[in-house]
Amino acid sequence: MQTANVIPRPLEPDVLFPASAQFGLGTAFNRVDADSSPSSMCRPFGMRHLVEPTPIVADLSAVRYDPDSQTAVVNSDGAWVSFAKHSTGQTSTKTSDGKGSMDSDTDQTED
């Protein structure tokens, strides 16, 4: 099998394509959100109620995918063990670089 050796680029949802819901796909994992648009004077009522969830932070630098078990494993004292920590609806996973550009992913379809 040959695969392309290029930098992957996440795809924006194609909201105008009517069949997209027939095979729903989420945003790319650990995608950096670069949208810095400020709120407008035309803000809908519901958006007044946005709040920042309390994240449960996982250090992804210590986690890797194990192709044998097909699960995530975490380095614990030099041994790779099952990543047992489960997410709630608001889990945010981050790979910290100590800066504002920290990669993040929040489970967006939970409630």
């Binding site: 099998m1 695969t3 392309a4 290029v6 930098i7 992957p8 680029r9 996440p10 795809l11 194609d14 394509f17 819901a21 027939q22 095979f23 729903g24 796909l25 989420g26 945003t27 790319a28 994992f29 650990n30 959100d33 949208d35 810095s36 648009s37 400020p38 709120s39 035309c42 803000r43 809908p44 009522f45 519901g46 958006m47 109620h49 946005l50 709040v51 969830p53 992804l60 986690v63 995918y65 192709p67 078990s69 097909q70 699960t71 995530a72 099952s82 990543f83 047992a84 920590k85 489960h86 997410s87 709630t88 608001q90 945010s92 993040s104 929040t106 489970d107 379809t109 939970e110 409630d111």
Partner: protein, 315 residues
Amino acid sequence: MSERTVLVLTHWFDPTADAVVEELNRREVPVFRYNPGDFPQRSALAATFGGGWTGSLHTPDRTLDLAKVGCVYHRRPTAFEFPEEMSEPERKWAAREARMGLGGVLATLPRWLNHPADIAQAEYKPVQLTAATAAGLRVPDTVITNDADTARSFLATAGRVVYKPLSGGGVAEDGTYRLIYATPVDADEIDESVTRTAHLFQAWVPKDHEVRLTVVDEQFHAARIDARSEAAAVDWRSDYDHLNYTVTEVPRDVRRATLALMRALRLRFGTLDFVVTPDGDWLFLEVNPNGQWAWIEDETGLPIAASIADALTKE
């Protein structure tokens, strides 16, 4: 031991899916974990039609024989990724072709938990509320409007009212990701900003506690949730640190109606939220056809992963 392969569609870091994969591994059931986000750059599809689709899906680590798939577990697959060098029109066209090609071939697989088309339909709250009522569940009075007068009128008659978003997920803005929980609103808060999109207002239901019910086929896993903070009492999702979980039973009439709802929505899996009033009445709030559940298993010991593994290997 099942000889049929369970295809798990999700990205690599999904601890909830891990719980099911680990259970399937323990049972020695063949598993193929696959993320469409790896298509087309890190995986290859080769499918041939000859009365039915046969062929394979390759990743760097494994090969899936499409004919051997017994059930598909649709968790959190992510979108296709294409080379940076592609233009936006090229990427959009390639994504449509990938969706119709890879997604179309996968759509022909015989059994799903849940089928993504059913998930998409069931995500609509107005559809849920209609189906729940038809199934025999009680639902709080609800208004969806972009008319400020209609909203004010509902608030005036319903008493205490909460605003809830109609769609799941939150908003990325100013570099921050934020969510909207159920929020109490007063009539004097309603203004022209209501006109700018659809808004859902729902009558507040006096609650003794809430129940998160996870249904897998006909297996019910009900967790009672008691809130220990003011925020959690309005919406428990807003304050996970102040919740108590205990296993509870589902009344027979609620169980019967819930099964009817699941059938109507064509769902084999769902996480449902109920308010239980001080009088013991159960009111349906919503069903999430792809909801999280692993933390409920952690908190209560309810064997949800095992139930899902049962459902995925059912012949």
